[in-house]
């Protein structure tokens, strides 16, 4: 039996998202628990990515996007104008579908976040942050001798781990992962999954994935989205063994989607 943590980290209530006239999320009520991995599954275009982009307010970038409803992190409402998105995103890191390291050195990729937030008062402290971040992302041993090479020279899997290191360099509380393994081969995927197991000890992780087996392997809780609605959310074990909803059952067994 997997240990289930009951402390709620993120709670969304009646979350609606509109892109222009099109509604992308429809009254999503979801609780994400602290220090565990929550997987969001569902067919393409169901709103999983839109959902996690609400949590760090990345949807602000899109002009026509409108978000209504409540998003609480540790009980604090963040879906309001007065919230400073810069410090919000310091607390909530994100890893994207396609590895997107900055076209700078490996070192600069990791040090960029701490640098702009002033987390290191000197070079020694910065070196330390870069080293621990890369170690946490299980990349240190592969890159420690070539920190000055461009991040883009790494392999796809390494680049994605570099992006994870970049996300954890500012010491966030939550890490959002938007299909982090969809562009990677199985070996690189296995490494990232292993890493997530390790990271969930210190961070709350939300992962969007298209792979059922990945959701089973890495997550403790799974939410199933369909057409902008959250159909069902429960422990991963329950969702994959005995879901309440017929649609969930059909999706995880591959009958649609």
């Amino acid at each position: 039996m997997v240990m289930i943590n009951n402390k709620v980290k993120i709670k969304t209530t009646n979350l609606n998202v509109y892109y222009g006239d099109k509604q992308a999320l429809n009254d999503v009520n979801l609780e994400i628990h602290s220090k565990e991995v929550t997987a969001l599954i569902g067919p393409s275009g169901c709103g999983k990515s839109t959902y996690i982009r609400c949590i760090n307010r990345m949807n602000d970038v899109i002009d026509i996007c409108r978000v209504t409803g409540s998003i609480e992190i540790d009980g604090n409402e963040i879906n309001k104008k007065e919230i400073d998105v810069v410090s919000l995103r310091e607390k909530i890191g994100m890893v994207f579908q396609k590895p997107n390291p900055f076209p700078k050195s490996i070192y600069d990729n990791v040090s960029y976040g701490p640098n702009i937030h002033g987390l290191a008062e000197n070079k020694v402290k910065m070196d330390e942050i870069v080293e621990t971040s890369l170690k946490k992302a299980a990349l240190w041993n592969e890159v420690k001798d070539r920190l000055n090479e461009p991040g883009t020279s790494l392999s796809g899997g390494q680049q994605q781990r570099l992006c994870i290191a970049r996300a954890i360099s500012v010491n966030p509380e939550v890490i959002l992962m938007d299909e982090p393994c969809s562009a990677l081969d199985p070996i690189a995927t296995a490494k990232i999954e292993e890493l997530m197991d390790e990271l969930k000890k210190s961070y709350t992780i939300v992962i969007v994935t298209h792979s059922m087996s990945q959701a089973v392997r890495v997550s403790q809780r799974t939410g199933f989205f369909h057409l902008g609605k959250l159909i069902e959310v429960d422990t991963t074990e329950k969702i994959f063994k005995n879901p309440n909803n017929k649609m969930t059952q059909d999706y995880i067994t591959g009958r649609f989607g």
Binding site: M58, F96, N100, P103, G113, I116, T152, R166, A167
Partner: protein
């Protein structure tokens, strides 16, 4: 039609298409070769100047100078008599007509040439020195082999007597061809043999610098704002359409604008690089903004998102990540815009840069010519000397443009390597 025939037809179409492409490239190359050949064959001669060796005695008494005269004193002295006397010693003449013809072998400013020679070589005071003096345009062309000397005398501007002098001087090895430094250092002149592009070089230089200073920062900030920060609404759409339209407005319209507003309303000095630079900035701005925006747009959005996701502010994500990545496109767009401005003629004619200016401008508010306008001015002249100088100026202008375009390509490659 069966499958085999269809396949053959497709292959034929492909071959035809390749053939058309080859033909057009060959034609283009032939045109370029033809153009370059015409310009080179005409302009080459302008880089050489014909001189005749003349013995000059810099006698201080004759020049009414003190025995160790200073440069200022020499500057004020009259060298005309000395010059005439030295020239007349070259060949035996009878009567005023022949004297005049002998003097006409030389460029009219021979006394100033002698003076300048002495100023450069002060230790020649009180000595007998050989000075190489510039010949008149006709003799210059004669020596370069471009003069129809077989024509009867009444149809030539060179008289039989002058031909005699010339042949004699050639026999004495006194006629030389030297590299024409005048062409680069002198201003414009009515005498083609001493006319140069010095003034227009400086004029063009000042103009381009002013254009760069005015248009580069404005274009960069405008494109960054429009591309990264401006809300997408009707006003920005309207601005975008206008920028694209402005880039297509004929340059002479900007000349009219400069004439009406800069010269008319603000009363800025006419024919100056300042006005030319402002006018050309107006013309160049949209031409720089468009490639700058394109290169900003080409930066993948994932880079912006990556920066925003670690908590960078909008300005930080743009300045730290997007702008550095767009530098190669921005710089090459700017340089190509400036190269276009450098070659622009029509607006400059309207703001009065077409004036005949002999002096080399020292500041951007002195009247001046510019390279393309100089080409235009000289192309209207009938003298053979101006014809070759027109082509030579085109060569100089083209080499500047080629160098600028090479810099653009170099910068693009250099910065792109750095980022990948």
């Amino acid at each position: 039609m069966n499958k085999d025939q269809l396949l053959k037809k497709r292959y034929r179409a492909e071959k035809r298409f390749k053939f058309y492409g080859l033909v057009s490239i060959t034609l283009a190359i032939l045109f370029v070769i033809f153009l370059v050949n015409v310009i080179f064959s005409k302009g080459r001669a302008a880089f050489q100047r014909t001189t005749i060796a003349v013995e000059v005695n810099f006698n201080t008494e004759e020049l009414e100078l003190s025995s160790n005269a200073s440069i200022e004193e020499i500057q004020d002295a009259d060298f005309y008599d000395l010059s005439i006397n030295s020239l007349l010693k070259l060949y035996k003449t009878e009567g005023a007509k022949q004297e005049k013809e002998l003097l006409r072998v030389f460029s009219p400013d021979h006394d100033i040439e002698i003076k300048n020679f002495l100023i450069k070589n002060l230790d020649n005071l009180n000595k007998n020195v050989i000075v190489n003096l510039t010949t008149s345009d006709d003799i210059d062309q004669l020596h370069k082999g471009n003069y129809p000397r077989h024509l009867p005398e009444e149809r030539r501007r060179i008289s039989d007597f002058q031909l005699l002098i010339y042949d004699q001087l050639v026999k004495e090895n006194k006629v030389n061809k030297v590299f024409n430094t005048f062409f680069f250092t002198n201003g414009d002149s009515r005498n083609p043999e001493v006319a140069g592009i010095g003034g227009s070089l400086f004029g063009s230089f000042f103009t381009i610098i002013i254009t760069l200073i005015l248009s580069f920062p404005i274009a960069i900030f405008a494109s960054i704002y429009l591309e990264e920060f401006a809300p997408k609404n009707r006003i920005t759409d309207f601005i975008e359409i206008n920028i694209n339209n402005l880039a297509a407005v004929p340059s002479i319209v900007f000349g009219l604008l400069g004439l009406g507003i800069l010269l008319g309303t603000f009363d800025l000095p006419r024919s100056t690089p300042l006005v030319a630079g402002i006018t050309l900035s107006l013309m160049t701005l949209p031409r720089i903004i468009i490639p700058c925006r394109a290169s900003l747009k080409a930066v993948p959005p994932s880079i912006r998102e990556g920066a925003l996701a670690v908590g960078a502010s909008k300005v930080q994500s743009v300045m730290h990540h997007v702008v550095p990545l767009s530098i190669p496109g921005t710089l090459s767009g700017t340089i190509i815009g400036l190269a276009q401005a450098l070659g622009e003629t029509a607006p400059l004619i309207l703001i009065g840069m077409v004036a005949f200016v002999v002096d080399i401008p020292a500041t951007p508010i002195d009247p001046s010519a510019s390279l393309p306008v100089q080409v235009y001015l000289w192309s209207e002249q009938a003298e053979r000397g101006f014809v070759e100088k027109t082509s030579a100026t085109i060569m100089v202008l083209l080499s500047f443009l080629i160098v600028m375009n090479f810099i653009a390509v170099y910068l693009r490659q250099k910065f792109e390597k750095k980022w990948s």
